[in-house]
């Protein structure tokens, strides 16, 4: 029997993945069938059970990227560097999902897919910052070096979580189409099965987010290993070439 193919999986991530899939099936049942329609929003409220959790996971990813950027600036360790990139990439996927689901929900509820609403605009800015952060990590900087590139990316990374705070408080600071806090206050404005479904959605997407972040972190870790091996091989090749050229003279 041949050895199993190497992957980024482990027993813990396989358990996490199984729980995520089972949770998603349960969530779909509650979100699409068992929870009631809203009196005002009717059935479009069902989009909220994916929109709100993806938004929370996007903000969590930004928080992790900011923490990883700060720690990288302090310690310059590979682990924090890889974590920052992994969280930002997963964050882009969740921020895009949040923006798309919000837009789809906005059409039947507000009558428009897009508005220059403070929360929508600041979330879009967050998406652009995440893309910019990853671009700065990967940009080919001929005049600079890896440390300078890392520094520039980390500075953008530090600005992500403050922007999350702007997204969160934008509905209180400016006139907005969005309602003010629904579930973070002591007496939530939804209850019963609807509140349970929303909480279940946050828990399930939390599992999905954790699974993705772990796998993406391991991919980043492997990329660093493969990159280092490739650099070592290139250096050995150049030294061998130089040795041959030197010997021929």
């Amino acid at each position: 029997m041949s050895a199993p193919r190497p992957t980024t999986g482990s027993p813990a991530t396989r358990l996490l993945g199984g729980l995520s899939l089972a949770g998603l099936v349960l969530l779909l049942g509650y979100a699409l069938w068992w929870s009631p329609a809203d009196v005002v929003q009717k059935d479009s409220v069902r989009i909220m059970y994916v929109h709100v959790p993806t938004a929370i996971m996007a903000f969590t990813a930004c928080g992790i990227t900011t923490l990883a950027s700060a720690m990288w600036l302090r310690r310059r360790s590979e682990g924090w560097w890889v974590l920052g990139g992994a969280a930002a990439e997963v964050g882009i996927v969740f921020t895009a999902a949040c923006l798309v689901t919000g837009s789809i929900w906005g059409r039947p509820t507000w009558g428009t897919y897009w508005d220059w609403d403070p929360r929508i605009t600041s979330t879009t800015l967050l998406f652009i910052m995440l893309v910019g952060y990853l671009a700065l990590r990967r940009i080919d900087n001929e005049s600079g070096n890896a440390a300078q590139r890392g520094m520039r990316a980390a500075i953008v990374g530090l600005l992500l979580f403050p922007n999350v705070m702007i997204v969160h408080y934008s509905v209180d600071w400016w006139r907005s189409l969005h309602q003010t806090a629904t579930i973070t206050r002591l007496d939530p404005s939804i209850e019963g099965t609807m509140l349970f479904t929303l909480m279940l959605g946050i828990a399930v997407f939390g599992l999905v987010f954790a699974w993705m972040l772990i796998h993406r972190f391991r991919v980043g870790w492997l990329e660093e290993r493969v990159g280092a091996t490739g650099l070592d091989a290139a250096l050995l090749e150049r030294r061998a070439e130089a040795g041959v050229a030197g010997g021929a003279r």
């Binding site: 190497p6 482990s10 779909l28 329609a37 689901t101 789809i104 290993r225």
Partner: protein
Amino acid sequence: MAGFAMTHVGYVAAGWTIPLVALGAYALRTVRRGRQLAEQVPPEERRWS
């Protein structure tokens, strides 16, 4: 059952299908990339396996 008399069916279907397909595609891409890279790295460098 609420499903039979649902309003905004198209929006609800799109609102769930698009993010789930996007997340699924990203997860698949990440796992495949991980497999490709894991084959190039010795087992002692893969601390999780």
